[in-house]
Symmetry: C2
DNA sequence: GTCTATAACGCGATAGAC
DNA sequence: GTCTATCGCGTTATAGAC
């Protein structure tokens, strides 16, 4: 994150053309995944041939990496460069984002599909998402550190788990929502879960599951 | 779920061969996704040609559907048919499952990759995952209803959001864990999140985010 | 900078021998 | 039930005209 904007490109009209391609690629990769989407479809959408796209980006892999970088600097610009909301404001920002995401299923699907696809062997987007999650976990953990410093001490493990869990629940809710938008209210469910996690960090509750050995990794077979 | 086991197949050795193919297909589809995995790779793994696989399953799409059905009836057998843990026991079961999942990344990856891939247009596994999540949400919501009846009344929306969120956080944690197994403890983080969500249903806390308009879907640009 | 043409390959699926 | 062979198509990528 916070990469320098590289601009070694030449003509101004060329840059606009590249942006058209990036937008089309975001849509196609989001709709069909990276493996499923083809240069042909992207080319059709911007009105050129697939050879033209390869002229601009060199290869399909390189195109994906530029799509991810471009989306990130467009979408997270205000969060990463401009002003990172801190402390409790970050959690409010995340909730607002979840409500906003409900209005743009295309972008949500692109991230949901590509992030999960990236765990497959030698996927070109894997390093990007590894770094992305690492950065986001750090930002959320920092917000927890700020609010915890105001109130009391909290276990480092708890903060780490909570930060990971907040990102996880937002992602997981998106997948369920994409599969069936009528099954849940994306914003409301995200707000509920984030508040639950934040609250349990600020005021830890005794485990409601106590009363049976829970910790050991036994031979349970269910996948879920 | 709770499908009748269909056994219109003939020879006993053929059934064993089919099972070999299903296991190999689970591994390949899990490692490379449905679109990315090929019949050739699956065939190599069981020592035959791709034509042989098509003889048994007819098409690649049909093979995926049988993989999903087979995995489901194998893994969730005890949960769905035998004895569905109820009330608080279900949440304990989910936590145990998360710890157990940390010992079998292959299966975890198969579900993570295929469920996210299934949101893409006309994916053959889409209906399966829609139904799967619908069923799981129902089971978790029922567990909430049981524990709520013991203690007090809770909003239906809250129960629905909590049920969805528990499944979501388990899925989302799996993706982050697959991308970097050292970044989080899958079982511990799942337990933390599930306890936080269950606790906030049983003893609702005033929103820790209060103090600023949070609800409205504004023009936030961040994706997260 | 975009095109046409083509190379080189892999895919799923089918046909028919054994 | 498994094989070989092949069809037909789509893919990424390259070469070269304009």
């Amino acid at each position: 994150m916070t990469e320098q904007r590289r601009q070694p490109r030449s003509r101004p009209e060329t840059l606009a053309r590249r942006r058209d391609i990036l937008d089309a690629a975001t849509e196609i990769f989001g709709a069909k995944g990276f493996t499923g989407g083809t240069l042909q479809e992207i080319a059709d959408q911007v009105g050129m041939t697939h050879a033209g796209i390869l002229h601009h980006f060199g290869s399909k892999d390189a195109l994906l990496l530029e799509v991810l970088a471009h989306r990130d600097q467009t979408d997270v610009a205000d969060l990463a460069e401009q002003h990172i909301p801190d402390g409790m404001d970050l959690f409010r920002h995340l909730v607002r984002t979840a409500f906003a995401n409900a209005q743009r299923p295309g972008i949500v699907q692109a991230y949901a599909v590509l992030s999960a696809e990236s765990v497959t062997s030698d996927h070109p987007g894997r390093a990007f998402f590894q770094k992305r999650y690492e950065t986001l976990r750090g930002e959320v953990a920092h917000a927890f550190a700020v609010v915890c410093a105001e109130r009391g001490i909290t276990e480092p493990d708890t903060v780490a788990d909570a930060a990971t869990a907040i990102l996880a629940v937002m992602d997981g809710l998106q997948v369920q929502w994409l599969l069936d938008p009528t099954a849940l209210d994306l914003g409301r469910a995200s707000q509920f879960a984030i508040e639950a996690i934040v609250a349990s960090v600020l005021e830890p509750v005794p485990s409601p599951l106590a009363g049976s050995a829970v910790i050991s990794a036994d031979q349970s077979r269910s996948t879920v």
